[in-house]
């Protein structure tokens, strides 16, 4: 179980991105995080694997204090947490297969990385996952030659390479059209259902939240303003999350 306790983050410029956020995520849950742009969703996700260093509060994962982990320990924690990004964050000039193999970097010996070597079993695993996300024929293609939807599949595949116990997805479909959005969300759903991987996914569109999430939490200006099943987001709650002037789309 993942427990977020009184998490706050103030950036160097004085921006208060998160204020006293607390919630628990049981193993195997598909949790949607909603809120306006700038409400702190990305910061929250990055505090969980400490890509962003929280100012105060703790993140406990299976009773391990992530916020207190040392440098070697945090690497061990990170390799069990896959991450999917809005802008895919692929290395454009590297081939697809190298981008996916990067998911194993937390496991392989750094000395082997010096000579750009991955074990055979990792390469096989990468090909297998490429097949699973339907782009096996693109393995040798440069990442920036793929379409947006294919690039995000590589992003998901990279997270899958980690054999993750949890996936953090930061608006994984915000740069994609609705059809592609559903296909990417279905991959995340399958990983969640079949591999029992906990998924924390920030989303913009409420219909996606309704369709895929077990539970939703909402942030507004860094504060937790909603925590419950997606069905409970009625008009009043919607205005509390998105502001009084907001109108529902989709």
């Amino acid at each position: 179980m993942l427990s977020i306790r009184n998490l706050s983050k103030t950036y160097d410029g004085g921006v208060q991105a998160l204020t006293d956020v607390s919630f628990d995520v049981p193993d195997g849950q598909f949790l949607a995080i909603i809120g306006l742009s700038g409400s702190g969703k990305s910061t929250l996700l990055r505090c969980i694997n400490r890509l962003v260093e929280p100012t105060s509060g703790t993140v406990l994962w299976d009773d391990v204090d992530v916020t207190a982990a040392g440098k070697a320990e945090i690497r061990y924690i990170r390799r069990q947490i896959g991450m999917v990004f809005q802008h895919f964050n692929l290395v454009h000039r590297s081939p697809v297969v190298t981008n996916i193999l990067a998911g194993r970097l937390g496991y392989v010996n750094p000395a082997w990385s010096l000579i750009n070597r991955f074990p055979k079993m990792d390469i096989d695993k990468a090909m297998h996952i490429l097949e699973r996300v339907g782009i096996a024929d693109k393995a040798k293609v440069r990442a920036d030659e793929l379409s947006g939807g294919q690039q995000q599949r590589v992003g998901v595949a990279r997270a899958m390479m980690q054999d993750p116990r949890m996936i953090l997805a930061d608006e994984p479909v915000a740069s994609l059209d609705p059809v592609l959005a559903h296909s990417i969300m279905q991959y995340l759903e399958r990983i969640n259902r079949e591999d029992k991987v906990t998924v924390l996914c920030s989303l913009h569109f409420l219909d996606l939240v309704h369709r895929y999430a077990d539970r939703a939490i909402a942030l507004n200006e860094g504060r937790l303003v909603f925590d419950g099943p997606p069905q409970e987001i009625d008009d009043a709650r919607f205005k509390a999350i998105y502001g009084q002037d907001a109108e529902r789309v989709g």
Binding site: R93, A102, Y107, N109, A111, S113, Q162
Partner: protein, 616 residues
């Protein structure tokens, strides 16, 4: 004052007046600046107009237009007549004077004259269409060139000669020599020298660029803000690392020296050496394979990790020894090969040089590895000790270690001062700095506290930047003056100066490129649990390759230009030859070198832009 309509007119007018005055002052100021500039740079348009100066300019331009590249065998045809300067008192020989009419002959009209008077020289019987020159030969025999001529179809010519200020009662001589080119054209000695030196120049640029780039690449990562800003640590760990680095470096150097001394006897029998080195490498390979498993899903127990570290250490030592043997062997074998290879003896010399380079590199690696290993071990140890002791104890440990590190660091600086200025005063170069350093260390530890937030990355970043900026401020032409004192005048000094400047220039350009790469992949790779080194290899390097290649090509281009003139300051290459010829007023020879430089630079321009297009 605002008037009735609310507009304040007088401030506007005032402001306009003020602006006009400001412009006026700016113009006057600019005028003064340029006036002073003309004075200090001694701009003198009269000089450029004086006929004497112009004549000199034309002479040089004509020489430059005839580069000394090709020569022919020449056949000379000459004729001479006596001449009286001034005319004899007796009044004899008033009319034309002719040489003997057999073969080529010349006639003077009149046959004598006063200094400064003009005589007409008419020649006959010379080869047709030949170039020649008329000389005045005083009794000491030195030929003074007085006029040029070219013979017509019939082998005749006419030239006008002005008599020089060399009056003597004896008969002097007018000599006409016609020169004909015979046989095939061939390259002059100057052309051969120019070719040798231009080859040397191009290779100076190549080696300087290569060495400089190899050093600049890792430095550029240290000088990139986006890679360094997140590198932080605890004061205690940093303090021991600071102490451990020089100690580790010293240990590494000692190991290297012992390895060198221990292997000096073995190089005498090559076969045995090869066998021993190969065996060592095989053992090292197997040991490393065992100690560095490709991938582990669970963290191994501590005992196993310690055993692996020990094996890696031993394997590293063994590997070092093997490579020292190999380098020894290369030095030995290269020297032998150079003796038997004949024309390609330079290959043997190169192998010897390569062996020596490997030897030096191994030393550098041993020093670096010693520093890194000891620093890493010490850092780990301190971390573990800090975890074991209480918070208060940790704080005291921080303070103690920081002041110790400060003292050691400052004492090292003091040692450098002592070495540079020979102060011979331990209070100034040892105790004083140590106490100040300890105080500074204490202060830093006090301010930072126990958190691991000391921005060591930014400190390294700023240090690297400063060193690069200072190095870049010194032109390679100036660097080579110092380096030529160290390694002697010649191309090697040029290579070192070019390398040093390339490190500075490329280090900065590379690091600026690293700072512009997109942060997304860095974040993504870090999120997989990669180490910083892995992140650099898999997220940074692929992004920077095209720009690095392009910048290196560009630098090569610049280095070719620089290497053409670095010889002026003792750096070898064609500049050395050019400067010699220019100083000897041998402008036709210098012209050949200028031409060669222009051709090479133009060729490099095209080549590098072509390769850059290919690379990106």
């Amino acid at each position: 004052m605002p008037n009735a309509s609310g507009k304040p007119p007088s401030p506007t007018r005032l402001a306009r007046l003020g602006r006009a005055l400001l412009v006026l002052f700016a113009i006057i100021f600019g005028f003064l600046i340029y006036a002073y500039g003309f004075q200090v740079t001694k701009v003198d348009l009269e000089e450029t107009k004086s006929p004497r100066r112009q004549e000199q300019l034309f002479r040089i331009l004509r020489a430059l237009a005839q580069p000394d590249l090709i020569e022919y065998d020449q056949r000379e045809t000459s004729a001479r007549v006596p001449v009286f300067l001034p005319c004899p008192e007796s009044g004899g020989l008033p009319g034309p004077v002719a040489s003997l009419p057999s073969g080529p002959s010349i006639t003077l009209d009149p046959g004598c004259g006063a200094a400064g008077e003009r005589l007409t020289v008419t020649g006959e019987g010379f080869p047709a269409g030949a170039d020649g020159r008329v000389y005045f030969v005083p009794p000491n025999g030195i030929q003074l060139s007085t006029a040029d001529f070219r013979t017509d179809q019939g082998g005749s010519f006419t030239a006008s000669v002005q008599l020089p200020e060399r009056e003597t009662p004896e008969a002097q001589t007018i000599l006409a020599i016609a020169r004909e080119n015979t046989g095939a054209p061939r390259l002059t000695q100057n052309a051969h020298d120019t070719w040798d030196k231009i080859v040397e120049t191009v290779f100076m640029a190549l080696l300087g660029t290569t060495f400089g780039t190899i050093i600049a690449v890792p430095l550029s990562f240290l000088a990139a803000r986006n890679l360094m800003k997140d590198v932080t640590g605890t004061v205690a760990a940093l303090a021991v690392i600071l102490i451990a680095i020089p100690v580790g470096a010293w240990l590494g150097a000692s190991v290297w020296r012992v390895a060198l001394a221990g292997t000096s006897a073995m190089a005498s029998s090559p076969l045995a050496t090869i066998a021993v080195a190969a065996a060592m490498l095989v053992v090292t390979g197997f040991a490393l394979r065992w100690a560095l498993p490709a991938e582990e899903t669970v963290i191994p127990p501590r005992l196993l990790r310690q055993a692996r570290s020990a094996v890696i250490l031993v394997a590293g030592l063994l590997g070092l020894l093997a490579f020292v043997l190999i380098s020894r062997l290369m030095v030995h074998a290269g020297a032998q090969l150079a003796g038997v290879l004949g024309v390609v003896a330079f290959v043997g010399t190169f192998i010897t040089a390569l062996g020596e380079v490997i030897e030096v590199l191994l030393g550098a690696i041993a020093i670096g590895a010693g520093a890194v290993l000891l620093a890493g071990t010490a850092g780990n140890l301190v971390r573990r000790v800090r975890e074991a002791v209480s918070h208060q104890g940790g704080r005291q440990l921080d303070l103690a270690l920081a002041s110790l590190a400060g003292a050691v660091g400052a004492a090292l600086l003091g040692a450098i001062l002592e070495w540079l200025y020979r102060l011979q005063d331990a209070r100034l170069t040892l105790y004083g700095p140590a106490i100040v350093g300890a105080g500074v260390g204490l202060l830093i530890a006090w301010r930072v506290g126990t958190a691991d937030t000391f921005p060591v990355g930014l400190v390294v970043y700023n240090l690297t930047r400063t060193v690069l900026n200072v190095l870049r401020a010194v032109e390679p032409l100036i660097m080579v003056i110092v380096i030529a004192v160290w390694v002697g005048i010649g191309p090697f000094a040029g290579v070192l100066a070019l390398s040093l400047h390339t490190v500075a220039a490329l280090g900065k350009l590379f690091s600026e490129d690293v700072e512009t790469i997109s942060a997304g992949p860095l974040e993504a790779v870090t999120a997989t649990g990669a180490t910083r080194l892995q992140m650099i290899i898999y997220a940074v390097v692929p992004q920077i390759i095209p720009t690095y290649v392009s910048l290196t090509m560009y630098r090569w281009d610049i280095n070719v230009r620089l290497s053409t003139i670095i010889g002026f300051a003792g750096g070898g290459g064609i500049g050395f030859l050019l400067q010699q010829n220019a100083n000897l007023l041998n402008y036709r020879a210098a012209s050949a070198q200028i031409l060669a430089i222009a051709l090479v630079v133009i060729a490099m321009d095209y080549l590098s832009s072509y390769l850059r297009q290919k690379a990106v």
